[in-house]
Amino acid sequence: MIRFVSLRVLTYVILAFVATSFAYLLSASLMHPEEVLYPPIATEPVPAATAQHYLDVRNVNPDTPLFERYANWLGGLIRGDLGVTTGTNKSMVPVIDELATRIPISLRLVVLGTAIGTVLGIVLGMLAAVRRDSVGDRLSTLLAFFILSLPTPVIILIVQQANQGIMDLSGWGLPAINPINPLLEPGSWESFKYQAKALVMPTIVLAVTAAASYSRYMKVTTLDVLGSDYLRTARAKGLTRGRAMNRHGLRMALIPMGQYFAFAVGGAFSGSLFVELMFNWQGIGRFAISAIQMADVNGTAGVVLYTAILTLLSATFADILQGALDPRIR
């Protein structure tokens, strides 16, 4: 077991390293953070020594060979230092600090959205399969395809407009944007309440999109189970239709779902990009977009490292889940 776990961890470290290195090499060779030194409106050039120093400190000097910059960056990586932000962001914030403040904001969104979406999708999918061809099944199928066919920004707009409509009618509504109210005292009950309320709409968006695709998968696996011999055996033993499904069918239907889970987290991350933009959350998704826009080499590599770890963790979680559900693969 120890051997298995250590081997697994080692594989993951290698995978995360390869992904991040690739992202670094790509962004370092394609982005030009040095251009910030030569704005078109400048009347006189920055002195050469200053410019060189500016670029060297940030490890983005185009005169340094790519692989030397990569080696510098790797050295930092081993010490747990992901470099500083570059590009148009001249403030030189360590990327690791930037990630540390933003990850908790994004993670609560992604984890909560995926968890609710998964549970909702599983329940809806199972009901749709068990009551196949009923009004509920058709309605949920239609709804799922409606949601799947809409781009995430449109869903966000619908949710925001619905909230606005309620607010106009009743005078009570959820905060439209921002995860935190800067006017409230941090750590106070009021501030916590505001944060919880602010979380509702973005979570709805993520949960609904996750549930739509999950319910489709779940319906298929449940239909497989419904036609299976062991479910017939369970009923022949004297279990009613519902109890046979709960005791024998559900667990079997969930086994293939474990596979999708690993991908769902990746999906939730890209979903959260739009959510963070349109709800004005200072999360990791927003940082990813701005890092790419600003030609922030270190920031981009840092984001990729984070998503790589996130995906690998969710893959591990999916494996554990499957092992727990299915004794045959233990």
């Binding site: 011999d229 369970a234 033993k237 079997m252």
Partner: protein, 587 residues
Amino acid sequence: MSDPILSVRDLSVSFPSEYGTVHAVQDLSYEVHKGEALAIVGESGSGKSVSSLAVMGLLPRTATISGEIEMLGHRMFELNDKQLSRLRGNTISMVFQDPLSALTPVYRVGDQIAEVVRIHHPEISKTRARQRAEELLDAVGIPEPGRRASQYPHEFSGGMRQRAMIAMAIANEPELIIADEPTTALDVTIQAQVMDLLKSAQELIGAATVLITHDMGVVAGFADRVLVMKESRMVELGTVDEIFYSPREKYTQDLLAAVPRVDAGEAGASRSVAGSAMQKIADLGEDRPPREELPTVLEVEDLAKVFPITKGAIVRRKIGEQRAVDGISFDIREGECLALVGESGSGKTTTLMEIMQLRTPQEGTIRIGGKETGALTRKERSTLRSDITVVFQDPMASLDPRMPIADIIKEPMRVQGYSKERMDERVDWLLKMVGLLPEHAARFPTEFSGGQRQRVGVARALACDPKLIILDEPTSALDVTVQAGVLAMLADLRARLGVSFLFVSHDLSVVRHISDRIAVMQKGRIVELGDTEEVFTNPQHPYSKELLSAVPIPDPEVARSRRREAIDRKAFEGTFGGFLADREDSQ
């Protein structure tokens, strides 16, 4: 006779389908009395399984049912799912066909047996139910029941799973056990054990049994009465002796006549009608010159195939080896039919694969028409492919559904570079040879029945005048009457064309009718090889004897004399002086 415990009256079941309503069962009426064994026999699609699912109340919701089923005073169609579930597993229980999929893979076998006890007797503690599960496993002859009970279904062999299913079926001492093709998926020796067990279990708890099967041999040894079904209707109902010795209906006679028999040699000695049509097949292909004078078509010498068993995903280590084929030798002469028989996992298919590859085997040598396969050039090998052809087990899976059968038959000829005119000519001739019409050439495989599809498969195998046809279980997917037709055609082809057969089968009774010589395989070795007549009448190796004695014989008198006690009565009654008494005390 006592009052019936189950009476089915005018039962009709139909399903909606894309092609209109399918009438699965029509106007079926029968009764089952206490302690009686009724067999419902019929070919595929005769509605025998559907009728039993109707008794259990387990038909899909799309089914339209009419008629009446009465079980111990309960009118089954008037009960809802909850009321029915109180009867299922307690008063009626069921053993299903495929033991591989009938147990939930994610729960321990012991827990699944304990569950059936606890569903109907919630007052029994979990530990007691678990203990009961172990006693039941012991009773049905599973060694080390304590350890086995905490294993998962995938750790059980097919026969053991079916034993576990029987343990589940008798756990609550039901009044009626329905067994739906309980041994179809099992090897013949295991089949014999499971049928003995089912019979003993039924006698032990005094339950009535409905056995649903297509296998007349199984019926002869098990049933008191037999109900024959054909195309959703009942054909004939009578005692087992009436059905086997003096069937009234033509269909019953045909069905019995088509049944292959291992004891074919002693024909006339048996009063049973079974197997009479098969006799003719054996009579074909007589008066040929002695074997030694004929040229050798295929020669296999010390052939072995070893699969390594590896462990580890990144660094593969060999931890052992599986000798799938372990040094076998045989030869086939021109116009001869050699049967290779053995149970699943005995290495039959691996042997075929090695021969069909036409390459140097891992160990040993294969010679075709005197040429060693390892020494062939690319071109020679490709030409030789037309000399050895194969007919597969599943005719539907081995024919491309998107090709008309003319193209299917032409394909091997095209590879060998036949001219267009010659191909067209041959397609007509081949179709006639296998008993189809030349007009069928433009049709697609789906338009044919199973037996006709297998004939197309044979026509394709014959396309380039092969010297040897390898028949890999060619009739095991077919109904008996169809099987008889295909076997007769094969025997006829051999007599007329002088082609040799390597006939691979698990079914000894089929082999008896068609082969000249027989090779019995066990665990990768040929344990006995000799003339069919000799092997069947005087088997030398203990395994051959065991195999032969396990084949069911479609003659009630013979079958009854072979029955054995197979249940552990003491284990069933439990350690506390009878489980039932124990249960009543606790109530």
